[in-house]
């Protein structure tokens, strides 16, 4: 057990330390999230009922876009300085440290969104009881976005115009997460209960945790080959 956890913890710790030292980048992602959410009332009008109706969708789309914005950083730095090749040469299983890197990435970029989201939801006058559901849906959903996005990031590693390509590749795959994530809050507000949506999100998280790292590891090997 400890043999498997050793490299996992080492990569996780290293990436978190790197994220902490470059915290300006992380804050930019968070600021993007906040600014995008705050733009919507200007676009659709400040009518409270309308804002309340669109709040879950707006927060989720903004979370999705800011995840997308930070994805290219997941492997780019390590690819540029050769760390990625060294990691691939180690005898440790690729999937293990890929999961560690995705975990670190989510803690650095996804978790802040989850923490900030309820505050932003108050700007849209969302009912207080729904805030818990919103946080839970984001906490279950954003790791799925990171896992799926990691596959796209690995495939587009080092390509010209990789950022736009990454968006085209992963945004269609994000649609189910968006549906169930925003749907959870809507379902709670309409009184039908968010349990089904949250269970589906949880299932999606487990499924993508099992499959996405494999695809991501294969894609990284192709990219570095």
């Amino acid at each position: 057990m400890s043999r498997a956890l050793g490299p996992f913890a080492a990569v996780l710790g290293r990436d978190l330390l790197l994220a902490w030292r470059g915290r300006a980048d992380v804050l930019v992602t968070l600021a993007f999230f906040v600014v995008v959410v705050c733009l919507f009332p200007f676009g659709v009008g400040a009518e409270p009922n309308q804002l309340r109706a669109i709040a879950p969708g707006v927060l989720w789309v903004a979370a999705l876009l800011s995840t997308l914005l930070s994805l290219h950083r997941l492997f780019a730095q390590d690819h540029a300085d050769g760390t990625l090749e060294q990691l691939l040469l180690t005898p440790e299983p690729t999937v293990l440290w890929v999961v560690a890197k995705i975990c670190a990435h989510w803690i650095a970029t996804g978790l802040p969104l989850v923490i900030v989201a309820p505050g932003l939801a108050l700007l849209f006058d969302v009912e207080q009881g729904a805030l818990g559901v919103l946080v839970l849906s984001l906490a279950l959903g954003t790791p799925i976005l990171a896992l799926l996005g990691a596959v796209g990031a690995a495939l587009t590693l080092g390509l010209r115009g990789g950022g736009m390509l990454l968006a085209l590749l992963v945004l269609p795959l994000f649609v189910p997460v968006l549906i169930f994530g925003a749907g959870a809050v809507d379902a709670y507000l309409s009184g039908s209960g968010a349990q089904a949506h949250l269970l589906l999100l949880g299932g999606g998280l487990l499924g993508s945790l099992a499959l996405a790292p494999l695809a991501c590891a294969a894609a990284l090997r192709i990219a570095v080959e």
């Binding site: 587009t156 990789g162 390509l165 590749l169 795959l173 649609v175 549906i179 192709i222």
Partner: protein, 258 residues
């Protein structure tokens, strides 16, 4: 494509066609036949659909768009599955031709996807009163088009053909795993938001000629796809193998003819 999937059972030596050099002339011989079959079936299918089949009791003449719409929609979904199949074969067996096959299929799949959406919009305006509704089928068809575009953009963006092949294969497989998830999530999302105000399932029971016309058009789409894919495979093979002697000989022979 079916032809290639079934042939290995008949004879073992058929695997020699996995080499691009062997497949190139075979594709050249087969493609015109499929193109001919496609032309005949299209003519028969359109004749059945536009002149023989009775007018629909509810929708009038406008329903006749199904002879193009349904065939295109079926084909667009089927081609993605075939693409994923060839990607899988390519990743497992490491055969270049499989990757070439899946890349040759993608543009035709995207084209059928677009045709299905376009004819659907033209059909939707007179029957539903809107070019587009966020119906589950329409939405998942649109997302399928995005998956095709993503696959094509990725394989075009990578310059090294070997990396492009494998990266494309991975995204095709990831997409194939996601297609059912996308379809069902969109379906549930739609039923949550709006009732079954618009349903494609309520089609009146079909006259036999209508069904025959549709099936003939579906087979025409198959034959067309096979012909076009084989031709595209041929040009991809020439492009990939342009440094080899046999391609040089082939091109010289072509120039001699002209």
């Amino acid at each position: 494509m079916m032809k290639d999937m079934q042939k290995p059972e008949r004879s073992k030596s058929i695997f020699r066609f996995a080499a691009p050099q062997m497949f190139y002339p075979l594709a050249g011989r087969l493609a015109p036949w499929f193109a001919g079959v496609a032309a005949i079936l299209t003519a028969v299918g359109l004749w059945l659909g536009f002149f023989v089949a009775p007018t629909d009791a509810v929708q009038g003449e406008v329903y006749r768009v199904i002879y193009i719409h349904v065939a295109a929609a079926w084909m667009s979904m089927f081609i993605y599955m075939v693409m994923a199949f060839w990607s899988f074969v390519g990743l497992v067996m490491n055969t270049r031709l499989s990757f070439i096959m899946s890349q040759a299929l993608a543009p035709t799949g995207a084209m059928f996807c677009f045709v299905a959406l376009w004819t659907g919009a033209l059909w939707g305006k007179p029957t539903w009163g809107a070019y587009w509704v966020w119906d589950a089928r329409l939405t998942s068809q649109l997302l399928l088009l995005f998956l095709y575009l993503g696959f094509m953009a990725l394989t075009r963006a990578i310059e090294d053909p070997r990396r492009a092949d494998k990266a494309g294969a991975i995204i095709a497989l990831v997409g194939a795993v996601n297609v059912p998830i996308i379809y069902f999530s969109v379906k549930w999302w739609n039923t949550l938001h709006q009732g079954a105000s618009v349903s494609l399932n309520k089609a009146p029971s079909m006259a036999t000629t209508m069904l025959t016309g549709m099936l003939v058009m579906a087979f025409a789409a198959w034959a067309y796809t096979i012909a076009v894919t084989l031709w595209r495979v041929r040009s991809l093979i020439l492009e990939r193998e342009r440094h080899t002697e046999w391609v040089a000989a082939e091109l010289n022979a072509l120039e001699g003819k002209i």
